[in-house]
């Protein structure tokens, strides 16, 4: 990491015990520093300078409101790494929203390692996640365009229907296209499927 200043971390963790422990680990690192600690994300907008990494306890995020972690912290195209800080396992669909995941039982060395790889990932693929479809998403888009149901897609790819729905939501968010006919137009225009499949 060729960089003179330290990467700034914003920590969002309601437990003071965990927050202080995390701060202690970071204070021993030469690459990272804590710029601020919040108990929940509501006050994020009051923070003047932008962090390089947001480390957040996913439990403070309200899933019912479909809180989109990335679009919340990456305003104006800011490139912010978002790392989850958890004490338990989360579903795959939830974890895909994050660039990394630190478990509270990870040791200090592992924590720093995970932060490094998260920041490298973000630097190498700036906003890649938000704009372009992943290979898996593209495959699912093709299946949707061909008129497959969620159940059929789940069987074909050996994933749960829940995961299919979560992929479809991500596809629609990235493309700005929600309807199946709209997705079909996109798929044909980008030569992901052939128009002759539809006569």
């Amino acid at each position: 990491m060729n960089r003179h200043s330290k990467y700034k971390i914003l920590l969002i963790e309601p437990s003071e015990i965990v927050a202080l422990g995390f701060k202690e680990i970071i204070s021993r690192s030469s690459d990272f520093e804590i710029m601020s600690t919040l108990a929940n994300p509501t006050y994020y907008t009051n923070i003047k300078s932008r962090p390089d990494i947001v480390v957040i306890n996913p439990a403070v995020v309200n899933y019912n409101e479909r809180f989109d972690v990335r679009s919340f912290f990456c305003v104006n195209g800011d490139n912010v790494s978002i790392v989850a800080l958890t004490n338990s396992g989360y579903e795959e669909g939830v974890m895909r929203l994050y660039d990394g995941c630190i478990n509270i039982y990870d040791n200090a060395q592992r924590v720093i390692q995970k932060l490094r790889s998260a920041i490298e990932e973000t630097l190498q693929n700036p906003k890649n996640e938000i704009n372009e479809l992943s290979v898996r998403e593209r495959d699912i888009l093709v299946a949707v365009a061909k008129g497959r149901t969620n159940k059929e897609i789940a069987d074909e790819f050996n994933i749960s229907v829940y995961t299919v729905i979560s992929h479809r939501r991500n596809i629609s968010r990235k493309l700005g296209i929600n309807s199946v006919p709209g997705l079909t137009v996109y798929a044909i225009m980008n030569k992901l499927v052939d128009i002759s499949d539809f006569n």
Binding site: L175, G176, I177, N178, S179, P181, G182, V185, Y186, I188, M189, N190, I195
Partner: protein
Amino acid sequence: MINNTLYSARMKMADLISADNELLSILHRIGIKLGFGEATVAEICERYRMSTELFLMICNIYSFRDYTPNVDMLRKEDLPDITGYLRASHVYYKTVCFPHIHNKIHMMVAELDSINRRLIDKFYDDYDAEVTNHFMFEENIVFPYIESLLKNGKSLQLDFSISKFEENHSYIGEKLNDLKNIIIKYLPEDYSSPIRFEILKDIYDVESDLQKHSLIENKILISLVEKLETSNE
């Protein structure tokens, strides 16, 4: 929102228009003729036999984003005016807004290669059919249901109630939003196509109009009919 910042019955109709010229399209739908001099909103509504309260609500919905209509201000006698307005609004979409967009799409696809032309044509035609169906369902099933409920105190269609309509009442703007993004982001680049900008402007306009139209259906029509249904029971 504080009530005194909204439109009132004693305002001059002409002042309403200068406050928000988008209201012209409401007048157009209702069939209010221009040249009304210094007449107030209440006077004009009386002349056209339309509920002033309802007219003001519709105008407030169009002009003020945060405005929430209070259905308690309306009576069941206002229902024919509401369905009348919604029918007139459908006519306006079918004869003014959508034909405009359709014509321009025809011009736009003429510049595209045959695959993209077929894609866009088909997408739009299917959407057009969906909109027609949506309006027809309301005009042939929902509005007659309400009218017979008013007239007979109960409906002849025993298997229908407004909650059924509410459940299935989808928002018809979704595909328009898709079309917008397809044109903005994915249609192959071209050198000079002012027509694309014009289409997008039209789509944005009709989209925001449709949102207000469905707000009138969901917040005013459905709530009022629900009250009527329970009072008849």
